[in-house]
């Protein structure tokens, strides 16, 4: 079970959305982390055969995925970022339809639908029309449809977008449960989505994978680069201008700053244990998704 990208490039007119990406994915959870516009969605769409690379190859166990066609797609589960559905279908009809186009037999489709609806907590809503569901519920249906065919490759593009904190925790637990013996590629700009469940995190920037490794490996690279220091409130602006500031905490006229920098930003700065969010800030120059703060 090996999904290999070799020198994959995708150009839209004169814009390189994905540039020379080479990576081999084997069983496990991969977190694709990057800011909006980094090329995550384009890369995922290529992995789902929705768009063809301008250059390079993508192979599944040595065979070109575009040549494999339906044989490849039958192993694929995909939840797109802008998950669309048929508003007048009930949840059950929608899942039965997706099961049909995924090639599942009606009996299997019914069994899988029942089980997945239970897993995503939507058993009671099975006869509701899709258009009547809340945003979080729609997302859960999206996750269920991706899992219908028990895919060996599960590609989830921003799966937690629109989910509340509770739903996101439930999703992570569900994903951990489902991740056995399959490749799961999960894109997000929310660090905590992948921090604890991803076996490997791929940092994507400007169409390239700039760094990859386990959460520990990535954070280890930032040892002695994350600092905590205290400064008068009036100096906070200067720090924000000159450093990558991960956090500012106000303390009675002063501010405690968490700064990512190769050098100590102040004499009294103390090194702190780096987190994946610090890594994100270090490479992307901006903070990870806001929802992360709430978890």
């Amino acid at each position: 079970m090996e999904l290999r990208m070799t020198n994959v490039t995708k150009t839209f007119r004169d814009v390189n959305a994905v540039e020379h990406v080479s990576k081999t994915l084997e069983s496990g959870v991969y977190g694709l982390l990057g800011v909006n516009g980094a090329g995550k969605t384009t890369l995922m769409r290529m992995l789902c055969t929705l768009i063809r690379p301008t250059g390079g190859t993508i192979t599944w166990d040595g065979n070109d995925i575009f040549a494999l066609g339906g044989e490849y797609r039958k192993m694929l589960g995909y939840l797109p970022q802008d998950f669309g559905f048929y508003p007048d279908f009930t949840v059950q009809d929608y899942l039965y339809y997706i099961a049909a186009i995924k090639g599942l037999r009606p009996t299997t489709a019914r069994q899988r639908t029942d089980r997945l609806l239970e897993q995503v907590g939507l058993s009671k809503e099975r006869n509701q029309k899709m258009k009547k569901l809340s945003g979080g519920m729609k997302r859960r249906v999206g996750i269920a449809q991706a899992m219908l065919n028990d895919p060996r490759i599960l590609i989830l593009d921003e799966p937690t977008a629109g989910l509340d904190p509770g739903e996101r925790i439930r999703f992570r637990n569900l994903l951990s449960e489902l991740a056995q013996d399959r490749i799961v590629l999960l894109s997000t700009h929310i660090v905590s989505d992948v921090e604890y469940i991803a076996n490997e995190i791929l940092l994507m920037k400007d169409g390239r994978i700039v760094l990859s490794g386990t959460s520990e490996e990535l954070t280890a690279a930032l040892l002695e680069s994350v600092w905590i220091c205290t400064a008068p409130s009036e100096q906070v602006g200067a720090y924000l201008q000159n450093y990558k500031v991960a956090n500012v905490k106000t303390l009675q006229g002063n501010a405690q700053l968490r700064i990512v920098s190769p050098e100590p930003p102040a004499k009294d700065a103390a090194a702190d244990i780096p987190t994946l969010e610090d890594v994100f800030l270090y490479y992307f120059g901006e903070k990870a998704g806001e929802e992360d703060v709430s978890l």
């Binding site: 669309g84 508003p87 049909a100 449809q145």
Partner: protein, 411 residues
């Protein structure tokens, strides 16, 4: 997959509204086709199915071979009636009484008006009243004579419009019509044909709306990514869409035509099915040698091919453009295309106009048009070309729609 494609179309509110519109169009078509009256002996008009049945009973008295003898009798009766005080009266009521008495020969009167018209393109409602029984023998010959005069009149358009071969073809068609032909009460069929274009055109316009969503829906609802990333998203699921489109067009069209035909024929009666179309005044000039029954087959089959072609084009456009906006306009454009082209004065465009797809939806009128073509030097009427052309194009459209959609969107 197929079942869900059908469900997608009719589950949305627009699909239900379209079904309602189809029902309304059918009801309107039936109502208009059933708009007839019978004038009783008091000169009063009676309406409804009973009136249609009384009229039928009257006109059936004249059914049979329309030979010289029958024509002589009919002329005698028409002229005698025209000379009655009621017919001559200035009082409308009296005129109505006279009209009522002439209802039995109303169909033959129309044919006499055509046969003895001043020229090929004129129709005088009172012409039959000025005939003599002795003129009955010229009835069939006049049909040919008027055509010949029209084709050879240098002051007319026909002289320049048709080549010698085409003129010869038209005359040959007229000359070879088997006469005397059988005559019968044909109101059921003529009324059916008269309002059939309304049924076909409203059906194709509503069908266009119904089927365009089959292919643009995934893009409209942003469900395309999941669809195309699925196992059958590039083959069987696309084929199910094409199949759903064809089944919807077929089911809706035949349901509309079947219900409309059943209603009109039940209302008026289906008499005259084996008469040549020329036995009905509306089709007196028709150049094709077909019976009314054969004409019905041509009308409904032509309508079906037209519906399939136009709906296929709608599906192709919505599959290619991934939008229903342009596609849903297609039936309107195709139906009104000839109206725009008529403004131009070009022989080529005139020839092209004779092959516009809307002609399939109004085959009853198309059969009366003298649209001729000379492929390979052989003169042929537009009707067989229309059937062959759009039959072939429709057959081509099916795999084209499939191929256009399965590509998805690479952007």
């Amino acid at each position: 997959m197929f079942r869900y494609e059908i469900k997608k179309v009719f589950a949305r509110t627009g699909g239900k509204v379209a079904l309602l519109l189809l029902a309304l169009a059918l009801a309107a078509g039936c109502w208009m086709a059933a708009d007839t009256y019978y004038v009783n002996e008091n000169g009063d008009k009676e309406y409804g199915a009973a009136a249609a049945h009384r009229l039928r009973a009257l006109q059936k008295e004249w059914s049979g071979t329309l030979d010289e003898e029958k024509l002589r009798l009919a002329i005698g009766e028409i002229t005698a009636l025209a000379a009655t005080p009621q017919a001559q009266s200035q009082d409308v009521k009296e005129n109505n009484i006279a009209f009522g008495r002439g209802q039995a020969t109303y169909g033959i009167r129309g044919l006499l008006n055509d046969a003895f018209a001043v020229d090929f393109q004129t129709n005088d409602y009172y012409r039959a009243e000025h005939l003599t029984p002795a003129m009955a023998g010229d009835f069939y010959a006049n049909r040919i004579r008027l055509l010949r005069e029209w084709l050879t009149d240098e002051r007319g358009n026909a002289y320049y419009r048709y080549s010698d071969a085409e003129k010869a073809y038209l005359l040959r068609q007229y000359e070879t019509l088997e006469t005397p032909f059988s005559y019968d009460y044909t109101n059921g069929w003529t009324r059916l044909f008269e309002w059939y274009p309304w049924i076909a055109m409203s059906t194709v316009m509503i069908l266009g709306y119904l089927v365009c969503g089959i292919f643009s829906g995934e893009y409209q609802f942003r469900a395309d990514a999941v669809f195309f990333a699925s196992r059958y998203g590039r083959d069987k699921a696309v084929a199910a869409k094409v199949q759903a489109g064809l089944v919807i067009v077929t089911a809706v069209y035949w349901a509309m035509v079947g219900l409309y035909s059943a209603y009109v024929l039940a209302y008026y009666g289906a008499d005259g099915i084996s008469c040549p179309v020329q036995a009905a005044s509306s089709y007196w000039k028709c150049l094709y040698h077909i019976t009314i029954g054969q004409m019905y087959v041509l009308v409904v089959t032509g309508g079906y091919i037209g519906c399939l072609f136009i709906s296929g084009l709608v599906m192709f456009l919505s599959a290619s453009c991934r939008s229903a906006v342009a596609a849903v306009m297609t039936p309107f454009v195709l139906i009104f295309l000839r109206s725009f082209l008529e403004m131009t004065d070009s022989n080529v465009i005139e020839k092209a106009m004779g092959l516009c797809p809307d002609l399939l939806l109004q085959m009853n009128r198309t059969l009366c048009l003298f649209n001729l073509y000379e492929p390979g030097g052989k003169v042929i009427g537009a009707v067989p070309i229309l059937f062959a052309l759009y039959g072939a194009l429709t057959a081509l459209l099916v795999p084209t729609v499939y191929k256009a959609y399965r590509k998805g969107r690479d952007s």
